[in-house]
Symmetry: C2
């Protein structure tokens, strides 16, 4: 493989929230998922299921569960990747084996498998020229998504992807410097000054400054804590998601 | 990008558990992680940290926490990817913002970010010719790994990767057919016969049959339920992981 080509892709990739009118064929989506299924999985158990929603009738019901965020409204398909121990447990019972997977560790293994698969789908789709965007709301309204998609016990949505052929420009986004994230050895002991220095480029990034102004806040961090991911909302959806894990037998 | 090249990579990739003596330089690892950090992340919060263990003294302490499994013993480096809301919350406090992230939803967002990053690291490393293998034991002994790596509150290991230049042949592994995993629409209603048919190739795969025989079991499923992932073990590590999430303020 030519290194430069894929290095360039990884260095320059970004998510898309606006998509072309051109549909994404089921053949294209199937090809991507078939390739993605070679991704690593816990003990080769493949603890995931993928539900692709590409029909307007169903999309109309699914979008509000993602708060009608632009990527969900523009997407030609919404791909819901679920942590799934149901299929594996059924196979166990049919094979004279007694599955012991109604517990939290099994959920984390299945969530790991599902997320690895979702990211593999993302990379393959983007390399084929498609645009994608994770809908972080998968776990927020997981109970209602679960109902809409008819998910049985031991199946929980963990990652949703909006997908389509990209239209318009992708938004520029910044990232932290490597040293903020990666350490050789034990967890780093950053001073307060270190933290502020590591986040300086993020604080000064033009699109972020605009964001602070638009929201009438004093700092970028306040946009996160007061507007985008406030405590009360996080606690409400935490309780709902834990309740769903109980109902689906993972807790 | 030339489609055929990367399609071939995705279609043929597999994990490696044996590695060459040649070390993996910190420059190579840093380059991979820097590229991987362009992967999608929840609200661009980058809720992860990466701790790379490449010194023999530390590796000697880390391997037993992964039950000395071959990939951990052979690896030139073990990369622990953590769900991390600590750094972000510190930045919030230093920016006159009140973080509300001591809850389970915040853990799932951070676990999603960390796993997406781990898979991006995997893909980039493999495309550069390295061999990788997830160590599923990251969440089993998460408490002890946490202690060894000095993880503070709101930081929990979720994915570990053994890495090195591959040696020997990779093991052949089978995958389920696409229809077992992917549906256009709602969750599929499989009959018992469907399940057995979908798992038939797995049941008959030569390496799996050998596995059943070696373990003195009647079916492949029994190898999973009785030997590899038994109920008592899953329940023990579930309790420990939930306890760690409490200690780290995510529950």
């Amino acid at each position: 493989m030519e290194n430069q080509n894929f290095d360039k892709y990884f260095a320059e990739r970004h998510s898309y929230r606006t998509f072309d009118e051109k549909p994404v064929s089921r053949e294209v989506i199937s090809d991507i998922i078939r390739l993605a299924m070679r991704a690593p999985t816990t003990g080769n158990m493949q603890l995931y299921s993928v539900l692709v929603c590409d029909q307007e009738e169903m999309l109309m019901k699914l979008r509000p569960l993602h708060f009608n965020q632009p990527a969900s409204k523009n997407a030609k398909a919404i791909i819901t990747v679920c942590a799934d121990f149901n299929r594996f447990a059924r196979w166990c019972r049919l094979s004279n084996a007694d599955p012991g997977y109604e517990n939290f560790l099994s959920f984390t293994s299945a969530m790991l498998d599902a997320t690895i698969l979702a990211q593999q789908i993302t990379t393959i789709a983007e390399m084929k020229g498609l645009g994608t965007c994770y809908l972080g709301t998968a776990t927020y309204n997981a109970d209602k998504i679960s109902e809409l998609l008819g998910l049985p016990e031991m199946v929980v949505p963990v990652a949703c992807l909006a997908i389509g052929w990209p239209a318009g420009e992708a938004e520029e986004t910044e990232r932290l410097p490597l040293e903020a994230v990666c350490t050789f050895g034990r967890y780093p002991e950053f001073s307060d000054d270190d933290i502020l220095r590591l986040y300086e480029a993020k604080d000064k990034f033009p699109a972020n400054s605009k964001y602070v102004e638009e929201n009438g806040k004093q700092s970028l961090a306040q946009v996160f804590t007061d507007v985008r991911y406030p405590k009360a909302m996080n606690e409400e959806f935490s309780a709902k998601f834990l309740q769903l894990l109980k109902e689906k037998k993972f807790l």
